[in-house]
């Protein structure tokens, strides 16, 4: 039988995504289930990502499984020059599933072609981070009661933010209307606009955050990093234009929720945290349930 993997969100059909979201709902009600008894999951973090790793390790632990792995490449044989292929073929001997994060794009797809156990992509460079997308979808469905016909406003670094790219692709299955708010240098790339054109979905681009947030069902905030700007003056000028503050939420819809893949720096003012429209910490909790669902689905345990 061919292995089931999760490499790119676009590999999964709408039905498979719903199946995983339903399973995640079940884990939210009943998080501790010993389904991974006697199973070993390898968590290979070729670059550090504390948040994602802890979320996976929490999910594995709540399922009663064991995990092995490394937390950055310097503490593994990769620092001796071992190829992805060799690392994966070796670790596949020690585990029932491999969760991997790697800075090189396409590494997870390649791993899935050489591994004899399932691969879950926990981020491959700027390419894909499908478990994040899945937990974003879970959070949106949970707070809105549906994924259909929503207005989603993406804010911040829309050029390099892979969570934005994956989520916009996934949401394209649900007749979403999009607003993209970013500085000029970090606009959404043309290939995603072409993708939405082909799907005949509505989108608008904006420079100002307060212009359109009244229409939003979801505001998806992302971090703007200084090193993305060729001109540091440009960063200083724009950084405060994309900060969400509590008073700005006054005229937003009652059902509206603010999401953020975290870590946050200053793009959401801390005075938003107490607002019932702030959802980013619960979103991170949803990540554990969603990853429990993904692991058990892929291993055929649910």
């Amino acid at each position: 039988m061919e292995n089931k993997h999760l490499i790119s969100i676009t590999d999964y059909t709408k039905e498979e995504i719903f199946k995983i979201l339903d399973l995640a709902e079940d884990f939210e009600k009943n998080p501790n289930q010993n389904l991974l008894n006697n199973k070993v999951v390898a968590t290979l973090f070729f670059e550090p990502s504390t948040r994602t790793r802890l979320s996976f390790e929490s999910a594995i632990s709540r399922l009663g499984g064991k995990y092995i792995g490394f937390t950055d490449a310097s503490s593994s044989s990769v620092s001796k020059g071992e190829s992805v292929k060799d690392t994966i073929m070796t670790v596949a001997n020690y585990s029932d599933m491999i969760v991997m994060r790697h800075p090189i794009e396409g590494s997870a797809r390649w791993a899935s072609e050489v591994s004899r156990v399932p691969i879950v992509n926990a981020g491959d460079g700027a390419n894909q981070h499908p478990t994040q997308t899945m937990l974003d979808l879970y959070s949106i469905r949970k707070t809105q009661g549906t994924l259909d016909n929503l207005n989603v406003c993406f804010v911040g670094d829309l050029k390099y933010g892979r969570t934005v790219h994956s989520l916009l692709q996934a949401m394209a299955m649900f007749n979403t209307s999009y607003n993209f708010v970013s500085p000029k240098e970090l606009r959404i790339p043309d290939e995603y606009k072409l993708f939405l054109d082909r799907k005949v979905l509505k989108y608008e681009e904006h420079r100002e955050l307060d212009e359109i947030i009244a229409d939003a069902d979801i505001i998806y905030m992302t971090r703007i990093q200084r090193e993305r700007f060729s001109d540091p003056m440009e960063y200083e000028k724009t950084k405060n234009a994309y900060v969400l503050k509590n008073e700005m939420l006054k005229d937003t819809k009652e059902n509206m929720k603010v999401l953020h893949p975290l870590p946050r720096v200053n793009e959401i003012h801390t005075n938003v945290d107490e607002n019932h429209k702030a959802y980013y910490f619960t979103q991170a909790l949803n990540g554990v349930y969603t990853r429990q669902a993904i692991i058990t689905y892929i291993l055929g345990l649910k």
Partner: protein, 153 residues
């Protein structure tokens, strides 16, 4: 035997394939893509012939070699205007034009320096997302390489 293009008539072949309208500077890429260095029958090629359409063109004549469409279409990336004449008993029995295929394995390089195919010895795989201005999408990193940045080996 017809002599419809006297200038280019290097030597007529009895049976085989003539590939015409190759851009002169891509002749050796075509030879590589089709593995013509391994051909054991007679092969003649010429380059830098004048062409109204291409400026300078090249031509390859292969005795007793016939291509499958899937194979010949690979050269569409470097010779999109190429025309094939299939020769049987000194006569042109069929003319073919090349078509950009739906997928491309092996011959193109992904333009993304952070792509795994540029770091480990992996045969590249692409799906063609645009045939007019050729653009290909990497099976691994999912980035698009356009005609301007395409490197063919």
């Amino acid at each position: 035997m017809e002599m419809n293009d006297k200038k280019l008539q290097v030597s007529a072949i009895k049976d085989g394939t003539v590939i015409d309208h190759i851009p002169a500077n891509n002749l050796f890429k075509v030879i590589n893509i089709l593995n013509l260095d391994k051909v054991e029958t007679q092969m003649t090629f010429g380059s830098n012939f004048e062409s109204k359409k291409l400026g300078l063109k090249a031509i390859i004549k292969l005795s007793d070699v016939f291509f499958e469409n899937d194979d010949i279409n690979k050269i569409a990336l470097v010779a999109p205007e190429a025309k094939l004449n299939i020769i049987k008993d000194y006569n042109v029995v069929e003319k073919k034009i090349v078509e950009v295929p739906d997928s491309i394995n092996g011959i193109a390089k992904c333009m993304n320096p952070k792509c795994i195919t540029n770091h480990e010895g992996i045969v590249t795989r692409f799906t063609v997302v645009s045939k007019k201005d050729v653009a290909i999408k990497c099976h691994y990193c999912e980035k698009i390489t356009d005609a301007e940045h395409m490197e063919i080996s």
